[in-house]
Amino acid sequence: MRQNDGVRVKVDQLLFGYRDGHELLASSMEIEPRVRPALLPHADARFEDDAPHYLVGTPIPEVQRYLLARIWPAPELPRPGAVWSHGLLLDRASLGFVDPLALEQLFRRPSTESIGESMAAYSRPLEVPDSRVAVPGLPEPLMWGLCWTAYSSTKLPTFVLWGNLPEAETALLTLWRQQPAAARARLAFRTRGRARTGASPYDVQVAPALRGRSGSSDMRILDARRLARSEVPEWVHLLARGAEEPSSDFSHYFRRFNTAALRSDTPSVLAQLWLLLEEPRSPGEVASFVGARFPKPAMMRPLKVALFGDYERESDLWRARDLDRIIAVLRSGPLAFDFQQLELPRRIDRLWEGEARHEMLEVFDDRQALGTSAAALVFDRALASMGPVDLAQRTADWALLSAAAERRPDLFAHAAFWRALDPPESSRIVGLAVAALGEDQLVEALLAVGVDWLVLAAGLLRPTMLAEAIARVAPTDLDSWERAFSGLDADLVAELGRPGQQLSPAVMLLLAASSGMEVVRVLPIASWLPSARLARNRSDLVARAGATTLLARALGSKSKPAKQVMIECFGVVHKALDEVDVPKRAWKELEPLLPDHNSRDRPGRLRKALVARMGEEAWTLDELTRTLEPAGPQAARIVKLVGKKNPLRRGLENALEKVADELVAPLRR
């Protein structure tokens, strides 16, 4: 509270007394006659007891000032019932920082003897003493009574009964001092000789006794004279102490947040809240208390921000961790708290980035216990901050996966995601991943994890995409290929039949190796030439099986491309038959095309078939060399199949010689 320490404050004053009626006798500011009727009732009184004076405080909207007035009986004046009243008029600025108790020192009762001199004194503004006035130890029951009635939300007029009215005046000023400036400007109070029932413009009144009722019985009366400590709620004690100790932490807190007028729950709730913070209670309990008392986001925003705003900025009220604040607010829900104003999205993101990540995951996993909006916020921010492993550990949460596919496709591109997945869960997830990433990116991701993942994705990717991927990552792994395309061959073949469809040699080779002649026949022999070339220098199963099938296809054709395929495949197949063998299914396709069906010399039969084919057309030396080069040492025996006078014999010998040279050349070097 700003007091008028060191600040010179002047307030205007008024004097009312009896002159042809109770009239304004002097004033330090121009009071329009038209506004006097608004002032007069508050500057008048009927003295019904022996009190030396009464006190009135009330806003006077007509002059946009607050009137604080003391009224004295004036038995020395000729008319019975006449009174003097000295009023101070405070503008809004003064109300903010004058000490009300200092104002009390300004009241001066005029005397009839010196009325002439007095008039001049009442016609100048008064300077308020610039010292803070200590509260003279007021009786506790009086302060309890005032605080309890003033801060009750009853709509009925309230009276506090107290015998000593001068004490009550100081207590009322102490209560008034406790209000923030805005509330001070609205509080109306009065002391009277007798409590009255019925409507009244005053919020709080004090009288020494109740003697009967008016035409209305409406009233709430507290007899502070008989109030025992044990009857009074703790919040009333706190407010009463606070009123007398304006520099206490509670008083600072109370002035900061109590912007409400009297007759609302706010002051008592603020005091109760302070007691909770002192105990201390958990953030959850505090949030539920605040949420229940101020159930709309717009209510008590500053308080809510101070309690549940960013810990780094709002830590003077309490030291609750940001995580606990956020959880408390989330549990209370958006009916009472404005998530955006409390910057929850940003703060939740920050928690995700820091050490509280684990707790945030817990909050996320328990979000069903939150209200709809809070759960949505938690979900939203979790999705934004979640890592691939976090996601992989929550594959049972289909809503999460679906949302992640839409908003966080990057998670599916992480190898860590796929590695952390429980494989039985994975096939349905791949479908999401395809939607999220597209096939290219998914295959990239799966490639990084391993071919098994590609196989898992088999039914969900375009066959050509899958085929190319497998061919790239595992060109010699016929088993994986066959698992991937089990039952899907036809689809792949259909793809092959599409105009413009290009497949890599590796895919073609795998296809030839796995699917056999049935598929190889679909395409012209020329289209197989690249895959045949790919197989030429390899000895793996794919190469052996593929080359065998392609060779079978080539043997069945007289075309030039068929010869080319034969050139490329013969060596691989021959060497395999000689040293390892070829897959049975491929052999079954080749065998019928070979001569000497009764012979067990499979390489020999192949050589014979080659020679037979060579006899049908001219072969260049290069062609012969290329054919025999990968065929292994036993290939030399082909020479014996050709007569010495046959020009082919010479060609074969030259070719074998060239092959031998090429084989030893590295040794020579």
Binding site: E48, P75, P80, R211, G212, R213
Partner: protein
């Protein structure tokens, strides 16, 4: 039937109750007979003893309420249970002054079906104007009487008739059921009788005017009748052998509103006449 005796201190409530009982217990009334007792009557007999000895009946304990509960038979033959708690006038004075009902008194009124309203000529506060005081004070009045002296108004400064009207009005506000019969009993009528007034009615109209007018104007709520009663029969200080020789219940006498002689039980009979037999 429950009847409340309403009156300020020393307005003759207990004395009337003792006289009434004495008459009933000794077959003294033609119109009303005692059939049985519903409660102890020790204090009534004690009062009768004092009356016989020509001593005033004084209450000793203000807060004590003496129950009077009798079964009576009217001359028409109907029987009534009569309950009349005898309560000190202090309860009424406190109610009027503090502006707050004495709980016991209000409870009795809330159950009452009849009121015996006592007015005593010597206890009357007429509410005289200042001019009366001027006549009493010797010499000419001062130009200004000095405002230091005046006594501030309090409710117990209200004149007696105003206090009575005030209580009757407040009874209605407090929920006492109406119509309720009111027998206005002017105690010690022997003091008044023979002076300027020849009947309780005329005395009431002049001396307790506001009450008389209020009852007249509100006869629908408060059907009323006025009586003058003299239980002691005369001033005890006077040495009148004629009276001394009589039994106390034989000394009692009463008049109706017009001043015609009636039995002491007439006010009760008036209340019972508006009530169904029990």
């Amino acid at each position: 039937m429950r009847v409340v005796m309403l009156g300020f201190r020393e307005t003759g409530k207990s004395t009337y109750a003792v006289g009434l009982y004495g008459g009933l217990a000794n077959a003294g009334f033609a119109t009303l007979k005692l059939v049985g007792l519903l409660d102890a009557v020790g204090f009534l007999n004690e009062g009768l003893g004092r009356l016989a000895a020509r001593q005033p009946i004084l209450r000793t304990v203000d807060e004590q309420v003496e129950p009077i509960a009798l079964t009576l038979r009217t001359d028409g033959g109907s029987e009534h249970e009569l309950h009349i708690p005898d309560r000190s006038g202090e309860a009424l004075r406190g109610t009027s002054y503090s502006r707050q009902w004495h709980r016991g008194l209000l409870d009795e009124l809330l159950e009452a079906r009849g009121l015996l309203l006592f007015v005593h000529p010597l206890q009357l506060r007429p509410g005289e104007p200042v001019e009366t005081a001027q006549k009493i004070v010797q010499g000419p009045p001062p130009a200004d009487d000095g405002d230091d002296v005046p006594r501030r108004w309090t409710p117990d400064l209200m004149p007696s008739d105003v206090q009575m009207v005030d209580i009757l009005q407040e009874m209605v506000e407090a929920g006492v059921s109406t119509p309720i019969r009111v027998a206005v009993v002017v105690s010690a009528w022997d003091i008044v009788d023979g002076e300027e007034w020849d009947s309780p009615s005329s005395w009431l109209k002049e001396r307790v005017a506001l009450l008389a007018q209020f009852l007249e104007a509100n006869a629908d709520r408060f059907p009323s009748a006025a009586f003058g009663v003299s239980v002691q029969g005369s001033d005890f200080t006077a040495d009148d052998a004629t009276f001394r020789e009589k039994d106390p219940w034989e000394r009692t006498w009463a008049v109706d509103a017009a001043g015609d002689a009636v039995e002491l039980a007439a006010p009760v009979s008036f209340l019972l006449s508006g009530s169904a037999p029990e």
